[in-house]
Symmetry: C2
Subunit: 555 residues, 2 copies
């Protein structure tokens, strides 16, 4: 390890603070950088037409030569989803556990990226990788995806512990519980900083074990007279395993539906994260060979995504599987904020098709994957950090988390923002500035080419549509030789409103007369006056404010 009179550590969140999603944290020790996670976020309602949101990594690109590694805590989209985009500018080594990298590989292949061009290194809990100034240690945790880890970043000033997403599950479905002993050891040695998951910081108590869901599945599966259809996140391997377990007890076969569910289940079976008896998995075309009470379908669509297998079944648009009266559909997930309406629509549609639908309001078919208040306090208590940075949450979560830490007696709790630089030296920790950070919007093939102006226009068009005026003017005589022609879209149903169009044409003619009389000949000047007058006219008549586009051609 390099000697230095004074070491300088900088912690810079590039995503995941004041938001749910696009988690990314930069840790800089002297002149080396490692990045923890590289996630995407789903667009806000007002980001019309946007497919997804990724972090702005300008700071990393600018400091390319310092970046040693991307470290992944687990394989959820909000932790790995931006990798294919960020790799274009920053082809750095990526370290993650087996399942996490398996999911990264699926993603890279979907983007047509050659896996040989990417430096993927598989690690397991307990492993340590070393750089000049730091060692990165992986610690087993439990979460709503298998093979999740926390990170201990050992620096010259002490360990920085990043929990990743976690819950304290003493009875996980597969493998060992979270490695609390290692957290305790680190605490004993002295933790410099704790960056801890804040998602459930509002919720008192302790998150229930994943195992409790299995008991509910057993009950529902054994009572169901017909098929059982379970929708959940494809990445929730443990939930899928519990579906398999309950199905096995009832002698039911398993059929997997939905592209991402098929991909992930296959990958998880291949890597040994899912266990299923031979012959239990059947193809969708074999369904008719079995009576309904011998079938379980596992499907995507737990968020009501309109194109998912479940949504298509609910609206009777799925090519191969329809709902049969007597089907029991379990939506084994909580709606991500903003998705409530989609999920609700699917539930109503399923009921209309004759299914019995079981969802979060009705039965205990879901538990969270995140730590509640007592678990958060437990991790703080074990690690006893000198400095504390609540991460992964909206402001309300961060502030509740900070309150918990302070109730435990912690004195140095920092609520940061994306881009804020927390600098830690031997004697102090303080926010010293801000680097470029924010949302990069992905729309189709475009990354970052949709900005505020484009979005503002989309919102304007979405609200009241479009009103185009086309005029052709003789460039020498200034006479109108064609038009005004009016084209509207999304504004008003035009047949019903022909008098309105006639009146609008009158407004246009008046403007042209005014311009002529006042010797205004510059097309842009005429356009401005046209726009103003039409805007006022249309608003007065309709209380709507369409986008007005005057087009004047001089010939």
């Amino acid at each position: 390890m390099r000697k230095r009179t004074e070491h300088r550590i900088r912690i810079i969140p590039l995503g995941g603070l004041n938001e749910i999603g696009k988690n990314m944290t930069v840790v800089e020790v002297d002149d080396e950088i490692v990045v923890i996670d590289c996630g995407l976020a789903f667009p806000e309602d007002e980001m019309l037409g946007i497919d997804l949101v990724i972090p702005d990594v300008s700071y990393l690109v600018k400091n390319k030569e310092k970046v040693r590694a991307l470290i992944l805590t687990h394989g959820h989209e909000d932790h790995i989803g931006a990798i294919p985009y960020v790799l274009r500018d920053l082809n750095i080594p990526i370290y993650g556990t087996k399942l996490t990298l398996g999911l990264v590989e699926i993603k890279l292949m979907e983007f047509g990226i050659d896996l040989n061009s990417v430096k993927l290194f598989t690690v397991k809990a307990g492993d340590v990788i070393s750089f000049n100034n730091m060692r990165v240690e992986f610690i087993r945790t439990t979460h709503s995806i298998a093979d999740s880890v926390a990170i201990a970043l050992h620096t010259p000033l002490g360990a920085i512990v990043h929990t990743g997403d976690f819950k304290v599950d003493f009875t996980p479905i597969e493998g060992e519980p979270i490695d609390l002993i290692r957290f305790a050891e680190l605490g004993k040695q002295g933790v410099l900083a704790l960056l801890c998951d804040s998602t459930n910081a509002e919720r008192p108590g302790f998150t229930l074990s994943e195992k409790t869901v299995g008991a509910t599945f057993d009950r529902i599966f054994s009572q169901a007279q017909g098929r059982v259809i379970v929708a959940t996140f494809s990445s929730h391997i443990h939930r899928v395993q519990q579906v398999i377990n309950s199905a096995e007890k009832q002698g039911r076969k398993i059929c997997v539906l939905g592209r991402s569910m098929v991909n992930v289940v296959n990958k998880a079976l291949e890597l040994g994260y899912l266990k299923m008896p031979d012959g239990m998995l059947i193809d969708v075309d074999e369904l008719e060979n079995y009576p309904p009470n011998k079938i379980v379908l596992i499907t995507t669509g737990s968020q009501g995504e309109p194109m998912s297998a479940l949504s298509r079944m609910a609206s009777a648009e799925h090519k191969k599987v329809g709902i049969i009266p007597g089907d029991v559909v379990i939506i084994s997930a909580a709606p991500i904020p903003g998705n409530e309406k989609f999920v609700n629509r699917v539930i109503n549609d399923l009921f209309k098709q004759g299914a019995q639908v079981i969802y979060e309001d009705i039965d205990d078919i879901h538990v969270s994957g995140h730590a509640c208040q007592e678990e958060i306090k437990l991790i703080h208590n074990l690690t006893r950090p000198k400095y504390s940075v609540p991460v992964h949450g909206e402001f309300k979560h961060l502030i509740h988390h900070a309150k918990l830490a302070m109730e435990l007696g912690e004195k140095n709790v920092f609520i940061l923002e994306n881009g804020k630089v927390l600098e830690i030296t031997k004697d102090s920790a303080k926010v010293v500035g801000m680097v470029q950070a924010g949302n990069v919007l992905v729309d189709g093939l475009g990354v970052g080419d949709v900005g505020n102006v484009v979005l503002r226009d989309r919102r304007h068009l979405a609200q009241d549509g479009l009103f185009i005026v086309v005029l052709t003017i003789d460039s020498s005589t200034r006479d109108v030789i064609a038009g005004p022609e009016i084209i509207s879209r999304g504004f008003i149903y035009i047949k019903e409103s022909e008098p309105l169009i006639e009146e609008a044409k009158k407004v246009i003619k008046d403007v042209l007369y005014f311009c002529r009389k006042n010797d205004i000949t510059e097309p842009n000047a005429i356009k401005v006056i046209l726009k103003d007058n039409l805007k006022n006219f249309l608003f007065e008549k309709t209380r709507r404010n369409p986008m007005i586009i005057p087009i004047i051609t001089e010939v």
Copy 2:
């Protein structure tokens, strides 16, 4: 009452079924019609730019001469909000309790409707109004608004009971509890049909009394060191009364913010539904005369509405009131499905301003106004209807309600849809057809002029924006004499994508060359070919699908 060999009753919901909102039920007894409620709904996400949704009342307009009255159960928007629109076509007598009509009057005045032109008749619980073939009886209920009633419609074939929205509150804030004895009497005499609120049919148990919220207020108010700010529905008079009561105990003054809150509080004080000691109400300009711990603000904005007083305070945009660190903000409401994100944003913003925010996830500062399963069963048990029609709910609520009724032994439960006609005669009840029913969209001054085509265009524009191609062609030579000019909005940030525009112009030129070579001169034919080619080109280059509008002017 008119003699007839056989009476015919038709129950036709025109709104409120398979949806939350726009409640309206038609009851037709022989040749007389009464209408129960006339509400609005809020637009679905995909109804871009739409302000609100009202029921299609074509059926009533067509049968104008039969319609005797509009009967109101209570003053919520989803029961009275469509009145100003429906009155234009159907100026029928309106019957409601004092507060309900007070709220209708506020609404009519906002629409600039002369109150003298409207036939409003105040009734009170226990009153009966008579028409030829039926008598309409008003029965006291309890709900999240004062002065709510159920309706018993006495017909030659028996009573039809419509609960309106209700809960069974034995300890309401003001006046008497729900009149269960009257429900029981009607049951004893024999109820023909029960139309009962389904909103909470999924929820087991019994909704807590409104009074429980007061106890929480008392605790929070007494602990608050600074100002207390309570956001709730302006129409929730009882909630407002409890705020006043808790404030009074702590010697705090009350200041009311937000247009609708000011209107409703004034109206309720005037009508005697709110009680406040003299001198307790202060103006916003007097706030500075009192220490923070002597102030309570009551405000609109509990749904996170972006223009509400609370949202403006949260984003530091309110002209007169800012958040002071130490303020305790109570959001005393549940988000209406779809509003979760708005409410969440306000909560985060308030925390950022330094307020302590208390909301549904955190403390018991809200109870529902609707009956849970045990209350629904209670009403069914007391009324013992021959026929049962769950109303007021999405399909999932209706089906859960139907299941409850069947568990009680009811045999004739009808799940209807808006427009479905349930015909009841002496011997039978069956669905006999369908009348016109549905959503009429209100956008600005336009009622019903935004239909599917306009909405489809708005969604298209919202998704990927707009791409206009302007060409001027010499009508005799077919030469292009101006253009192609390209105008895009909401599609792509144009400066970044000039090569794209140049390539698009090349595509346009190729199309024109092709058309010329193949003697295609009809502008519409050229437009179709242009559109197809540009669509493919732009999708291939960007994976976006903007609305393409070719404009060809011949001169």
